[in-house]
Structures are given as structure tokens and as C-alpha cells.
Amino acid sequence: MSRIAACFAALAGKKALIPFITAGDPHPEQTVGLMHGLVEGGADIIELGVPFSDPMADGPVIQRASERALAHKVGLRHVLEMVAEFRKTNATTPVVLMGYLNPLCAMGYAEFAKRAAAAGVDGMLTVDCPPEEAEELAAALQQENIDPIFLLAPTTPAERVAEIARHARGYVYYVSLKGVTGAGNLDIDDVARKIAALRQHIQVPIGVGFGIRDGATARAIAVTADAVVVGSRLVQEIEAATPETARERLTSLVAELKAAIS
């Protein structure tokens, strides 16, 4: 069983917390420590952002995280090294990379899948690669038992949900709102209705992200979702912290969110 499947199986219906941070933010030497800090706080799965020069789907907070990481020249190969380092002392927490397609194009899909598997990566969420264009990448990932994680959106019609369901592995990521990451227009009731509809087609767990800012919204989302993804809010915490306090502050914020959904 994959780490992601094992993770959801072990939760046995309890809700998963999936925190997101950008690899290399604020400094590449801190990332592995911050990942362990997320686990200490109660992270069930970690989404690790791969810095990209043109993060089209991200709001200003995660754009800045990418820019801070890129200032240290953090690229996909460094991100894989960080995951390998993390795996030395954590064999169970699933790690899903989240990023854009071009860094994978640059490395080559097969080469990426091989190196990611060796590093201990469990899933790949490629924001700008919908299932229509994912055939070659998904095959390369499957070869190495890495789950391709696909997005669903409020604008996705039912027949398309059914099609994406055929490709989905690990979990699906429901984008809770029309907008970029960290946006402020989350509508909890709408999300609840949409998730109920998604369940008619989707067999894997459903995670929800974009715009979840605090314990209250996390709790409300967790009523219907299987997993709650929090990104921009954590990145803001990193921004506000000093290098010395970042890990501690992340751990305590994750613990607060975890308590809210438990």
C-alpha cells in the first residue's frame, strides 16, 4: 500500500490535515526542519511546493515564497534532496510535491519520476497539467508508484469530474473557490454542496484547499472533506517569523488547525 493510502486508512474516517510550505522558503537549509515541525504539529500529509518563476495559479503570499526560494536558486533537484533528507528520519508521512510542469519538462518526466521515487516522494500535483495533457507524465509516475494528484474546481462539470475520477490516485484536491491560492472569498456552504456531488464519482479521498485561513474555516470544511489543505496561512507565518522561531510557530499553528478538525 502507498504511504498516502496507508495514511488515510490509518485515519479511519478522521480528517487529514495537509499543510503546504514552499521548499527553500525562507532558506533551503530550514526546509527539512520545517517539514519535521509540521509533522510534530500533527500534519498527516505534507504538500511541498516546488519553486517556479511564473506561479500563475498562486496569490501574492505563495508568489513571495517562491521568490524567496528562487533567490537561493532552489530548483526541483534540490527539492528532491530535501525530501530524501526528510525521509532519513521519517518513513511514514506522505510527501506530495506541488508545482508547475516546466521544471518537470526540464528534468524529463521519466528521470523525474525515478529520482522522486528514490527520494521518497509519494504524489505529484502539477497545477498546470490537467488529465487531458497528463498521459505521458502519469505513465512515468505510475511506473514508479507515485500518485498523480489532480485538481477539481467549482467550475468542473459533472461529466468531467467522472473523467478525472478515472485518472485520480491518492486523493483529489478540490479547489474551494474561483481564484488563486490564499484568496478571501471562500463559501463554506457551497463547498459542502460541491463535495457531496463529487462523491458520486470520486472514490479516493477528497482534500479541499485555497482560502482556508484559520481553525474555524478548517473545522467547517472538515465536516464534509476528507482532508484540509492549508498553504498561504502557513507561509504567512513563515514570513512573520524569524529563522529561529519559524519552526516553533509553524508547529503550534498546525497543532491548532489539527485540533480544530479533530
Binding site: D54, N102, C105, D128
Partner: protein, 399 residues
């Protein structure tokens, strides 16, 4: 050549093009594709499009024999397709009219656009005023500085211009920000992409609206010289004026097609915007094409004296035409383009856009190697009034 029928149903030109966007945009793109298919089959749509091009834009644009300049060059005869004479001063308006008519069919009251040199922003602001739509234009902060006359033009036309401070603060960042706006306001907003790039169906529909350029040339050249030109040449940033010129000529044997990218300070310096010349296939802004990026896949900063060519990617159909060898692509440096700019001013009384000056410079370079009865047709895609501040400051002057 064999039958050329691209893109395929999923928007691919061979291995290029496609729909590489976040899920939220997929349905909007599918709707646009369906609406365009309906419009394409609707004679009334094209009738209105042609009416607007004739009475509002002033088409057909003439072809002009640049005799003095040709004599000076001492070889092939250079003819200019005068897109600079269009309303708003460039070819961009052909496309914005087509897309605005689509937006109106789809009931969208708000349009957004990205712009580099400001020509597409002006053309978008123009049609928004013409059809009574709200218009927001995203423009890199760097470009806002170097293209201030166009910024003011857009404001006069009622558009809101948003300077984009992220990344390299140029065209690619403006496109990122326009995509972010679109994903947020997807129900109300139509995104008018300015070049033959972006996710399917944009490369196809921008091409279709711009092919009026090449279609006119195919009729006008035989009227003027009794045959088609030996070479057609156009500058290539995203590549909309070039594909508009090339597309009708793809199946015409014996017409060489040359696309000219921005060589900036020289390809060897790395400071350029020439993905077809030295890039590799990659994915940005919703499509797969030749692209400039580093070993980590980060998109490279580009440089060109011309803001409109300052883009690290290129429309997917050009990548395909390069691979199959139907069109050839080369680069012209800033200083060569500037020389052509000044020469056209002085010998023909035409101030060309710095973008178009790249195509002119290629003609200047190659014409002397050709015989006097051969013909080069240059797409003079825009006028250069917008560039006078840039050119003046490069000459050490302040206006």
C-alpha cells in the same frame, strides 16, 4: 506540401500547443472553444467582423513598394504590408475586434488583456470602448515606464492599466497576472489574449483573426507584381503578426517564410528573446512550445529593445512550422533593428515600430544577396510613434 490542418481537436500542433492550465480554467476554455466553433460557422459573425475591419480599422491595408530603400540596399525589391496604417497603429486590432465580438456573443461585459509594448493593450481598450465593455489591462511595471504614451492612450480610452510588479516586470508577468484575474472573475470576464499563444483555442482563433493580413497579401501581390513574393518576413514575439502573414502562404509552394526573433544584445550574450533560435520545448502560460528556461526549468529573463518581442515563449504553431521546416526562424539584434528603424524613417518617410524593425533589418541584411527582380514582402506590423522615447534615449536625447 501535404494537407496542413492544425490544430487538432485538442489544440495540438504536432507536439505543441494544448491546454496546460489549472482546472478552474478548463471549462471556460471549453466554452470559448464551443462558442468559437459556432461563430466560425455563422456567416453573420464574419460579415460583422469584415465590416468592422473595413469601416473601423480601415482595411485592406495597402502594400507599398519601398523603392528608395530597395535601391539603397541594391538587391531584392522590398515591399511593405502596411499594418502600421490600421486604426490604433498595428495589426493587433484585427484580433481584438474578433475576440470582442466573441465576448459579446458570450455575454461578457468585462474584458482583460496583457500587454508588452502597449499595442495590444491599446487595441483592447479601443474595442472595449467601441463595444461598451469594462477593460482592465495588465502591463509589466518595466514596460509601463518605457511605453508611457501607450499607457496614457489606454487611460484615455477608459481602460484601467494595472502595473505588474512581480518577476521580471515585463510581458510574461503581465500574462501571469491576467491569468490570475481571469481565474478569479471567470464568470464575468473574457480574456483577450494578444498573441497567437496561450491555451487552446487562443492560438487558433488569434491566427484566424490575423490571417486577414496574409489573405490580403495573396490578392494584392499579384495585382502589383503579377505574382507572389519570393519571401515573406515578419517579426516574432508571440508571433501573431507572423502567423497572420504566414498561414495563407503555408500551402503556396515557392514562397519562403522567415520569422525574425529579438536577438537583443546578441544570442551569444544570453540577453535576447529568441526561443525558436536557442530555446527548448517546455510549458508556460497554458501551452507547450519552444521556450527559454534554465536547467531547473525556471523561465529566463529576456531582453529586447522592443517591449513587444520581450517574451520567453512563442506561439505553438511557429514551433511546429519550424520543426517541419516550412518556416525558418532567425534573430536580429537590437542595434541592427535600430539601424533599420532609422533607415526606414529617412529613406521612406515611415516610422516603423521597433518590433517590425526586426523584420525590416532582416530584409536589409538579405536583400543585397538577392537579385533585383526578386521580392521580399515585409509585414510592417506597427508604427513606431510609441517608440520615440525609447529611440531618443538610446540616442542620448530626452524628449
Amino acid at each position: 506540401m501535404d494537407r496542413y490542418d492544425f490544430p487538432d481537436a485538442r489544440g495540438h500542433f504536432g507536439p505543441y500547443g494544448g491546454v496546460y492550465v489549472a482546472e478552474t480554467l478548463m471549462t471556460a476554455l471549453a466554452e470559448l472553444n464551443e462558442e468559437y466553433a459556432r461563430a466560425k460557422a455563422d456567416p453573420a459573425f464574419w460579415e460583422e467582423f469584415r465590416y468592422e475591419l473595413k469601416h473601423y480599422v480601415g482595411r485592406p491595408s495597402p502594400i507599398y513598394h519601398a523603392k528608395r530603400w530597395s535601391e539603397l540596399l541594391g538587391g531584392a525589391q522590398v515591399y511593405l504590408k502596411r499594418e502600421d496604417l490600421n486604426h490604433t497603429g498595428a495589426h493587433k486590432v484585427n484580433n481584438t475586434i474578433g475576440q470582442a465580438l466573441l465576448a459579446r456573443r458570450m455575454g461578457k461585459k468585462r474584458v482583460i488583456a496583457e500587454t508588452g509594448a502597449g499595442q495590444h493593450g491599446v487595441a483592447s481598450a479601443t474595442v472595449a470602448a467601441r463595444y461598451g465593455m469594462e477593460c482592465v489591462v495588465y502591463m509589466g511595471a518595466e514596460d509601463v515606464k518605457r511605453q508611457s504614451p501607450n499607457v496614457y492612450r489606454m487611460k484615455l480610452l477608459g481602460a484601467t492599466v494595472v502595473p505588474v510588479e512581480s518577476g521580471s516586470k515585463t510581458l510574461k508577468d503581465a500574462m501571469n497576472e491576467a491569468m490570475r484575474d481571469w481565474v478569479t472573475n471567470i464568470d464575468s470576464t473574457f480574456y483577450i489574449i494578444g498573441t497567437a499563444a496561450g491555451p487552446h483555442p487562443y492560438p487558433m482563433l488569434v491566427r484566424d483573426f490575423q490571417t486577414v493580413i496574409g489573405e490580403e497579401c495573396k490578392v494584392q501581390m499579384p495585382e502589383m507584381i503579377g505574382r507572389q513574393p519570393d519571401v515573406v518576413v515578419a517579426c516574432v514575439g508571440g508571433g501573431s503578426n507572423a502567423i497572420g502573414m504566414f498561414y495563407p502562404y503555408i500551402g503556396v509552394d515557392g514562397v519562403r517564410m522567415v520569422g525574425v526573433e529579438a536577438g537583443g544584445n546578441g544570442i551569444e550574450t544570453g540577453r535576447h528573446a529568441a526561443p525558436l533560435s536557442v530555446g527548448k520545448p517546455g510549458v508556460l502560460h497554458g501551452f507547450r512550445s519552444y521556450l527559454m528556461f534554465d536547467e531547473d526549468g525556471q523561465i529566463s529573463d529576456t531582453h529586447s529593445v522592443s517591449a513587444g518581442l520581450d517574451y520567453p515563449g512563442v506561439g505553438p504553431e511557429h514551433s511546429y512550422l519550424k520543426d517541419i521546416g516550412r518556416a525558418e526562424y532567425t534573430a536580429i539584434n537590437d542595434d541592427e533593428a535600430l539601424k533599420a528603424f532609422h533607415d526606414l524613417c529617412r529613406y521612406e518617410g515611415i516610422i516603423p515600430a521597433l518590433e517590425s524593425s526586426h523584420a525590416l533589418a532582416w530584409a536589409a541584411k538579405v536583400a543585397p544577396t538577392m537579385s533585383k527582380d526578386q521580392v521580399i514582402l515585409v509585414n510592417l506590423s506597427g508604427r513606431g510613434d510609441k517608440d520615440i522615447n525609447t529611440v531618443a534615449s538610446l540616442s542620448g536625447l530626452t524628449l
